[in-house]
Amino acid sequence: MKKRTFVRTLVGAAVLAVFSGVAYSQQTVKIGLLSNLEGPFAAGGADGMRGAELAIKQKNGMAGGRKIELIKASSDAKPDVAVNATRKLVEQDKVDIMVGPLSGGEGIAVKEYSKTQPNITFINGSSGAQATTLVNPSPNFFRFNTEGAQWMVGLGKAALDKGYKRVMVIAEDYAFPYSQVQGFMSEYCRLGGKVPVKAWVPLGGKDYASVIARIPKDVDALVVILGGADAVNFLNQYEAAGGDKPMIGGSITVSQDVLNYKGKRRDSLVGTIAGAPIADSFDAPEFKAFVADYQKNYPVSAGGYPSPSLFALVYYINMKAALDGLDAVKGDLSGGQAKYREALTKMVLKTPVGDVRLDSNRQAIGTTFITEVVKDAQGNLSNRVLRKVDGIDQMLGMKKEDFKMGSRDEPNCP
């Protein structure tokens, strides 16, 4: 009798264990996804969502043995809107992990907010301002993509190689373009290039006629660091005003969302060099597989681009990091997600553009491409790889004491 009770208890315990185990593994992990579906980056933001969803699809919606539930929200590139959307996801929807936001200013604001939610892990979307991880970094904000300045390493030399000795900078007036300009100019100025004029324009400003009027005659090229709708408007208005100077692009100036906007194709963009974490024609097998998967899941007929945009890739990378981290800890988010964060910190992330490690500020160290816009046989515009630079950290290869973060006036070489 006693023995039977014992066996029963044992069986019962086993069943309970199995069931609780099942219950544990069936418990979903809520991931909040914040991108832009409104405002100047609406088109790119939608592609960012596709990238993030692709990462989940590739794992059949499971990570670390737990089902992933995705809750999406949208912002419009304004920091306050991004924080409100993040608050809604964290405080109302009770997500476990946040992925987002899209743009530079938003990233800084969401990073600051993350400090007030120490039990949630925040992973960047595609925002690329230096300050996010360089100034007062947050212990629970991770960025598995390289940022705006890192994306421009190598471009200064490429511009000089093309014979552009004097350039004018036209960029939006917020944190991300500051980083991009710093990344470009710190190299370009060091190698002897001159930047006599910098024009900072409001984000979503639309009317570039005044800026176009300020372009001096004696510059060899324009460094255009505008994204989404702004880039489209600038290119259109510059062409209509009779402008013919060659261009050097920021990372999101010649991304797929701009190259493929609705309307006439801009053949004048052919030959534009740019620095970016993605190059459409990069021929590593991992990247080709990623592109093929994207094209299969989001064909052009269903609103996708001929080739994934920067936003799709970067959101993919960050979402993949979130999921790989869950795999590494087998879905264990207990203890204020301490184990999960440790796994993220130590992770060497396999991405379509090579391995990514994090530095002590939880900022990615990774690869940048110098690209040139070419036109293929079907008339589609895409980016060809000129050069690939590996292992770029946030100091851009400079010594810590020489490094100065980008701002309106820094760097300066008129």
């Binding site: 009317d207 005044s210 209509a240």
Partner: protein, 315 residues
Amino acid sequence: MSRLQKWFWGLALVPPLSVFAVWGIWDNAKLFFITLLNGLTLASLYFIVASGFTLVFGLMRNVNLAHGSLYLLGGYVGYIVAEKTGLFVLALAAGFLVAALVGLLMQVAIFRFMQGEDLRQTMVTIGLSIVIADLLLWGIGAQVHQMSAPGWLAGPLRDIPLITAYSKYRMALLPLGIIIGVLLWLFLNRTRVGMMIRAGVDDRGMLAATGVNVNLVFAATFAIGAGLAGFGGVIGAVELSMVPGEDVRLLLASLIVVIVGGMGSVVGAALGAVILGVAETYGLAYAPTYSVVFTFVILVMVLAFRPRGILGQAA
């Protein structure tokens, strides 16, 4: 305005502006004149949209905060028509007609039931503008829609003295705005219908007593006002491209134009548009960081010293 006030404003505004103009021309004449041209052409777009707003808002005392949505709607309709047919003129007509039709519907189905109730009109039209914007987002998507200029207006106009090259399309906006302004003024001041509109605004009951169908007159006015927003949308879709969010931008611009110029006055709208357009472009060219401030400084000054607008009259 008393003579003293005129002297005061003359002294407060003319010398600093002329000093700026002299410095601007001396410093970089090309930039100064291109910016002037930019300001005037932008003003032209603002005027076309705001003149519709002033008709509805100023003359009929109908607060239509869905005016920006009509601009967006017109722009998208124009884009689709231009893509299907390739005819820019047809796109302009379609943008005007569709927006006018929607405006007519709004007047017949909504405003007729809340004549004179400003607050209700405001709330209802804000709601409508959100609904229309979201329907457009759902149906058309959030991508940038950049309409191409018609072939004969594409590209630059070259060999202009002093400023060398200027966009043909943008240049064409200037005469277009002037033509629309003159036609609108003639319509309101020299035609029978225009007279009826003005009379109806002054005293609706009296006009009805003389045997005029007031509702019909107001519906027609509303349709024209809405149509102008749609027309402006097609023009804007080429110059500034169409994307969600433009509705709010143009609504704000129209509000500022009408407040600065004076409600219900076509000439006032023209003046307001020129002030706003020129302030915005000069701001962007000479002090890009602070360009937004100029617009609002002007607004504050006007509200403080001429609360009915520069050419506004008592209601």
